[in-house]
């Protein structure tokens, strides 16, 4: 060891500071890892919306706009944009909640190293979620810019789809974080999540057409889907999709409830697994 004078942890570690900022230290570490993948993250964030917008927004949109003059009183791309943004937010938040959690508990076990520090298990859960939302914000913003470039926002209000999508990402991210923390078998977890959760959410949440167009017996998927609630809210904000005041509260309430329950459960699962 060098000749530096040892001060000792009693003099240099400030626990009350960690109580306030511990979660941010966890996020800082996670963001450091994300930055290593900056270019591939950027490419993924930009490429996938471009492909979607080219094929469905422009291609299918042209067909719909020509035959029925758009959907919900606006051109198809404007109708579609809020749903695509919310989907991207949910997908990003889910990826960033699931992979680091499985890595932290199972693969590298780095959460156990964090747990040996003054940071609490709940703060670890919070920190992972915050980092997931930073990444989500980054991706959704790039997605939003791409939509803007393709003319998907009919007015400046269109940009409101970004915070709404982030809100959806927070709700779903918190929900899935607790589930990932309680997961031991990662192989079947990914299979179930991809095939039986993400795919139906994407297809049956009023993404490509309004939920009311669906047969009644399939609409329930939308009702329990954060994607539908976020999309409805976002359409309301961005182009004035007609919603009653009650429904605005229902959609916002659903996402808030999902966020609160999700975060509470995530904290509980992190604490349980780290103190086994």
């Amino acid at each position: 060891m060098s000749n530096n004078l040892r001060q000792g942890s009693l003099h240099i570690v400030n626990v009350s500071r960690i109580r306030k900022r511990g979660a941010l230290s966890i996020s800082e570490g996670r963001i450091r890892v994300m930055i290593k993948w900056f270019w591939s993250n950027l490419a993924a964030a930009a490429l996938s919306p471009t492909l979607y917008l080219l094929s469905i927004g422009i291609g299918v949109g042209k067909l719909i706009n020509t035959h029925s003059g758009g959907v919900d009183g606006v051109k198809y791309l404007t109708f579609l944009a809020p749903a695509l943004l919310a989907t991207a937010a949910i997908q990003n938040a889910m990826d960033e909640a699931v992979f680091p959690t499985l890595d932290g508990f199972k693969w590298s076990k780095s959460f156990f190293a964090m747990n040996a520090t003054p940071i609490s298990s709940s703060q670890i859960a919070d920190g992972i979620l915050i980092a997931a939302l930073v990444r989500t914000f980054f991706s959704v913003t790039i997605y939003g810019c791409t939509i803007y470039f393709f003319g998907g926002f009919s007015s400046l209000r269109g940009w409101l789809a970004i915070p709404t999508a982030l809100f959806a990402g927070a709700a779903f991210g918190a929900f899935i974080l607790g589930i990932a923390a309680a997961t031991n078998n990662d192989d079947s977890f990914f299979m179930i999540l991809g095939r039986f959760v993400m795919m139906p959410l994407f297809l049956f949440s009023g993404t490509f057409y309004q939920l009311a167009t669906m047969p009644f017996y399939l609409r329930w998927i939308g009702w329990i889907s954060p994607l539908w609630h976020a999309t409805e809210l976002s359409r309301y904000f961005t182009y004035g999709h007609r919603l009653s005041g009650v429904m605005v509260l229902v959609h916002a309430g659903f996402l808030i409830a999902m966020f609160i329950f999700g975060l509470h459960n995530a904290r509980k699962q992190f604490t349980k697994r780290l103190s086994k």
């Binding site: 060098s2 240099i12 960690i18 511990g22 800082e28 450091r32 190293a113």
Partner: protein
Amino acid sequence: MEDISQNPVLIQAKGLSKRYGEFVAVAGIDFEVKKGESFGFLGPNGAGKSTTMRIIAATLNRSSGEITILGKDPEKYGPEIKAHLGVVPQTDNLDNNLTVEENLFVYGRYFGLSKKFINGKIEELLDFAQLVEKRSVKVETLSGGMKRRLTIARALVSEPEILMLDEPTTGLDPQARHILWDRLFRLKEQGVTLLITTHYMDEAEQLCDRLMVMDKGSIMAEDSPAGLIKKYSTREVLEVRFGSDRNATIAPELQKLVERIEVLPDRILMYADDGEVILHLLKEKGMHPITSLVRRSSLEDVFLRLTGRTLID
């Protein structure tokens, strides 16, 4: 609140126990660790060493009994206690996505340390862990010994009062073990309180001022390594081999010559203060072992005496 920096007793446990259903992992143990001491838990796998360490590290709740670390109860003051511990777990849990120095940096941030402080500390720790040239290398490419040293360096980033090492050299080759022992010895010289679990007697002898021998969750004995040997063994041991089929039959004859013998599957251990004298006596009586070895008593002999088993079964 008492001033914990002045209290010479850093860890105090009374009747500490941990049960998982019917299974008793730690069976009501008492011990004390003083400031600046190097304290070891010696015992085979499953003795309850790691469980005791996790209770001290405030990551596992006890079932009953009392324990204070730096004067505080870990169940009530987890973060306050963890702030002053450096923990080196049995398996390295470094962040494989980050480089060597990033691992140190990020960990320092978990203790709320400033970027400036950590950056200065990183230089010191890389030097300490002999990893200066590997600073920008991703952790997954390091050898086992390097990872272990980095894990120890990481635990030191916050200048902990107590450094806890769970089986620090398990799985390392002899050279890597010696480098590690040297680093730990330097820390001890600086007055860092070390808490070590090991099932290697040589490691316990090298590093620990005081040892607690554990088996099946209980304390079998507690003293300095030399004190334990003096109390539970003779000065020397004569190891003799008569061939695996003859060892058992000749044992009663050997028993008459010394205070105590241990019959192991491949050899017989004869405990005496002067092994050469006993060997001479054997030959005089016409008992010629195939091989013989006189050595000093070790902690292995202490453990054998206390439990009837060897440390690594």
